[in-house]
């Protein structure tokens, strides 16, 4: 089979799985984890292909670019696909046990695999309208999965999530309409080549940024995230926080640095950075005050996305080698958060099944009862604070370095304050978990639930921290022009 087929298979496998799981309900869980495992295998294959055979561009249907749709896989896209496939695999193994003997499981698997399809299709899309379609699939499957929480609060959060997601998609769609009216193509590379600095370009850029900021919950548009992410079933929360907001961030990166490169200014980047800084402070502060573990994790996601946006003003002024390193650090930070946050949500799910609640104040004895789960929480905490050897440590280190080099020292203040707050909320959590109870029975927790959480947490800390160097060489595989 030729190399370009790997691009098709990472999208088709989860979609096939979703269709099969819809029809053959009795075997949905088996179909689910097998197709996630195969997808993860294909994602590794795709990264290998991009590294050895260069950027893959696939004109679907064999039509010329501009008429047909193209899929585009460079280093960044392949890394994102691998990240998403690994998190989905971890959550799938976990979900088999989690949903056992629950009514929702038959609806969970098809929707879950459709979510995985949408994520991979989005990362590999080379066409701005195709991105819109993947955003729709992503938004609808994500909010339907949130509704599986079944409580009234979950339904309300799911509905709000759906409406906010649709609003974001509409803003994005308006921007595409403008671009198509002006340039007559929907292909990202062709638009990037033709783009002129004029009011239309500005309007399109602002509309897209507004829509995607809503979807990635950038401060002050984060209001929908904490209820949605904290009320969904555990594996769903993990994917929402780790992957779905990250998909919107990925699009912002592509649009900002590649498609709209002539239009972006340091001023606009500083506005984004300032919003990011406020997200860091507000998100971390709210996480510190959160009464429930899942709410803490959700607010912490608001903060972590803020850090990612803070890279923008620094990337705008750096050039050459230094910029390449900082860009890699940003991607590393995103990956580290994806693995750590999914591990944290999975661990929170185990805690909730054991204790029946996730109130932080009442978690005493957790260490005695669930030592491995507590270990996962601690590891994830290390990555969220940004302590070595986690990937987030390297990410923050490069951010710090760039802030000093470019003289934009004020970002350092935010970084320090955010990290201190993160330390506080992680240690507050661990402090309660290590509280001693006289007699605690060891509950029986299925290893299939604890192991995926542990694997993801280890990936976030040791895996990414110690194996980070290859990331930069993967990211070096980018196309000559702009891709999407």
């Amino acid at each position: 089979m030729n190399e370009a087929a790997s691009v098709v298979w990472v999208i088709s496998l989860p979609l096939l799985g979703a269709l099969l799981a819809t029809v053959w309900r009795q075997r949905a869980a088996t179909i689910g984890w097998i197709s996630s495992a195969l997808t993860a295998g294909c994602a590794v294959w795709l990264l290998w292909v991009v590294q050895h055979a260069g950027v893959q561009q696939l004109a679907l249907g064999g039509w010329e670019i501009g008429l047909g749709i193209s899929l585009y896989a460079d280093g960044l896209a392949a890394v994102m696909v691998l990240m998403s496939s690994l998190v989905v695999l971890g959550c799938s193994v976990y979900a088999r046990q989690y949903f056992r003997a629950q009514r929702q499981h038959e609806l969970f698997w098809p929707l879950w695999l459709l979510l995985a399809t949408a994520l991979n299709a989005l990362f590999l899309a080379g066409d701005l309208f195709n991105v819109y379609v993947t955003l729709e699939l992503l938004g609808i499957s994500a909010s339907a999965l949130t509704a599986l929480g079944a409580k009234r609060a979950a339904l309300r959060a799911a509905l709000r999530y759906l409406v906010v997601g649709l609003l974001g998609s509409m803003l994005y769609l308006m921007a595409i309409t403008l671009l198509y009216a002006a340039y007559g193509t929907l292909n990202a590379v062709q638009i990037a080549e033709a783009l002129q600095v004029n009011p239309l370009g500005w309007a399109a850029l602002l509309l897209m940024l507004a829509g995607l900021a809503l979807k990635m919950a950038l401060f002050p548009l984060h209001f929908w995230l904490p209820p949605a992410h904290s009320n969904a079933p555990a594996p769903v929360s993990a994917a929402l926080s780790a992957l779905v907001v990250k998909a919107a961030f990925y699009l912002v990166v592509r649009l900002w640095f590649e498609v709209f490169a002539p239009l972006t200014t340091p001023l606009l980047a500083n506005v984004l950075g300032a919003l990011g800084a406020m997200a860091v402070l507000w998100g971390s502060w709210s996480a510190l005050r959160a009464e429930r573990l899942k709410l803490l994790a959700a607010y912490s996601s608001v903060a972590q996305l803020g850090y990612l946006v803070m890279f923008f003003p620094l990337l705008m002024v750096l050039e050459g080698e230094a910029r390449h390193w900082l860009f890699g650090a940003m991607v590393l930070f995103a990956l580290s958060h994806a693995f750590a946050k999914s591990a944290l949500f999975l661990a929170a799910g185990i805690l909730m099944q054991y204790a029946g609640h996730d109130r932080i104040r009442e978690l005493s004895g957790t260490t005695q009862a669930l030592p491995l789960t507590t270990f996962v929480i601690a590891l994830a905490g290390i990555a969220l604070v940004g302590l070595p050897p986690s990937g987030a440590f390297l990410g923050k280190w490069y951010l710090l370095d760039a802030a000093f080099k470019t003289g934009q020292w004020w970002w350092v203040l935010v970084l320090v304050a955010g990290s201190l707050l993160a330390t506080a909320y992680v240690f507050r959590l661990l402090g309660h978990a290590f509280g001693h109870l006289p007699a605690v029975k060891r509950p029986i927790v299925a290893a299939t639930q604890e192991m995926p959480a542990l694997a993801l947490a280890l990936l976030a800390t040791f895996g990414l921290g110690l194996g980070a160097m290859s990331l930069w060489s993967w990211l070096a595989h980018t196309g000559t022009g702009a891709g999407l």
């Binding site: 819809t22 098809p110 309208f129 239309l200």
Partner: protein, 312 residues
């Protein structure tokens, strides 16, 4: 000729004005029922606007899906809601004015962007030139169908998956409560209309190869037949009584689309790359099953699933 153009111009202005007024009235009305009715009328006027823009495909889809099925779905929602108080719209003046200002800013921005390039657009590109040039190799002679099922087939495949996600999402919201009163008048109507609707769906599907029509419009007609049957008292609305057959129907369109795409990849043609000689037949096969899936999905969306009690 000039007089005629002038008359059409006045008609267009009138249509746009009515459309804007209907939209505002639908949004600002504090009564849900009136709001909904206005929305359905809005959909019909919008269909006329599309027709005036020489986009008959979109006009058909807007009338059938936007106004027709959308209206039916809204009605079903409202009917389930009648035991609650109906005037619960959050119409705080600050929210309303804030939204108004935001929309004005948005509108100004889009208009500003469009007017900055409109004078130059004609010279830079002509819409659909590439589509016309490749139409002969697409397997169909209607450009819209060629775009949807061949040039941009990947979008359509994913859109079908979106429909699947939507119906699964509706199921995720909980069990179905029967919300309809069977009326004798409907069963008489159903006897006449349902066969006619199925026949029309078949025609619209076939016509899609060379003129406006296609899977989405045909599916909407099938769904219309299903809704009519449901209102006439058939608990399954004409859907199969075996549950796995229903689920098979829901995924048939996406499934065959994907399998054809992957099969062609395995054949050495490339994903979704139909050989020119057989393109017509592949497209027809995909469209037929997509019609079935769309019709079943929309009918099920209206019903909210098959009620547990009546299913026995």
């Amino acid at each position: 000729m000039n007089l005629l153009d002038g008359l059409w111009g006045i008609l267009d202005l009138l249509l746009v004005a009515v459309l804007l007024l209907l939209a505002m009235a639908a949004v600002l009305s504090s009564d849900r029922r009136r709001s909904m009715m206005l929305f359905i009328v809005f959909g019909l006027v919008l269909a006329l606007v599309w027709a005036r823009l020489h986009a008959p495909d979109i006009a058909l889809a807007e009338a059938a899906i936007g106004a027709g099925l959308g209206g039916a779905l809204l009605m079903a929602t409202l009917r389930r809601d009648t035991h609650q108080q109906t005037d619960q719209f959050p119409q705080h003046p600050v929210v309303l004015w804030g939204a108004g200002v935001l929309v004005m800013v948005l509108g100004t921005m889009i208009a500003w962007g469009l007017f900055s390039v409109l004078p130059t657009v004609e010279q830079t590109w002509r819409k659909g030139a590439a589509v016309d040039a490749h139409l002969a190799f697409s397997g169909v002679s209607h450009p819209v169908t060629a775009v949807l099922l061949n040039f941009r087939a990947w979008d359509t495949l994913l859109e079908l998956a979106v429909l699947l996600a939507a119906i699964l999402g509706i199921r995720a919201l909980g069990y179905v409560r029967s919300a309809y009163v069977t009326e004798a008048a409907f069963s008489q109507l159903a006897v006449w209309l349902v066969p006619l609707l199925i026949l029309m769906a078949g025609y619209v599907l076939w016509a899609g190869a060379h003129s406006p029509g296609g899977a989405f419009q045909a599916g909407a007609l099938l769904a219309g037949a299903g809704i009519l049957l449901r209102l006439a008292g058939y608990s399954h609305a004409g859907l199969p009584t075996t549950r796995w057959l229903v689920r098979l129907g829901l995924v048939a369109g996406t499934g065959v689309f994907l399998l054809v795409g992957l099969g062609l990849l395995g054949w050495g043609q490339g994903f979704l790359h139909y050989p020119v000689a057989y393109a017509k037949w592949w497209i027809l096969l995909i469209e037929m099953l997509a019609t079935v899936s769309i019709g079943m999905t929309l009918t099920l969306a209206f019903m909210g699933g098959i009620p547990q009690k009546e299913a026995a």
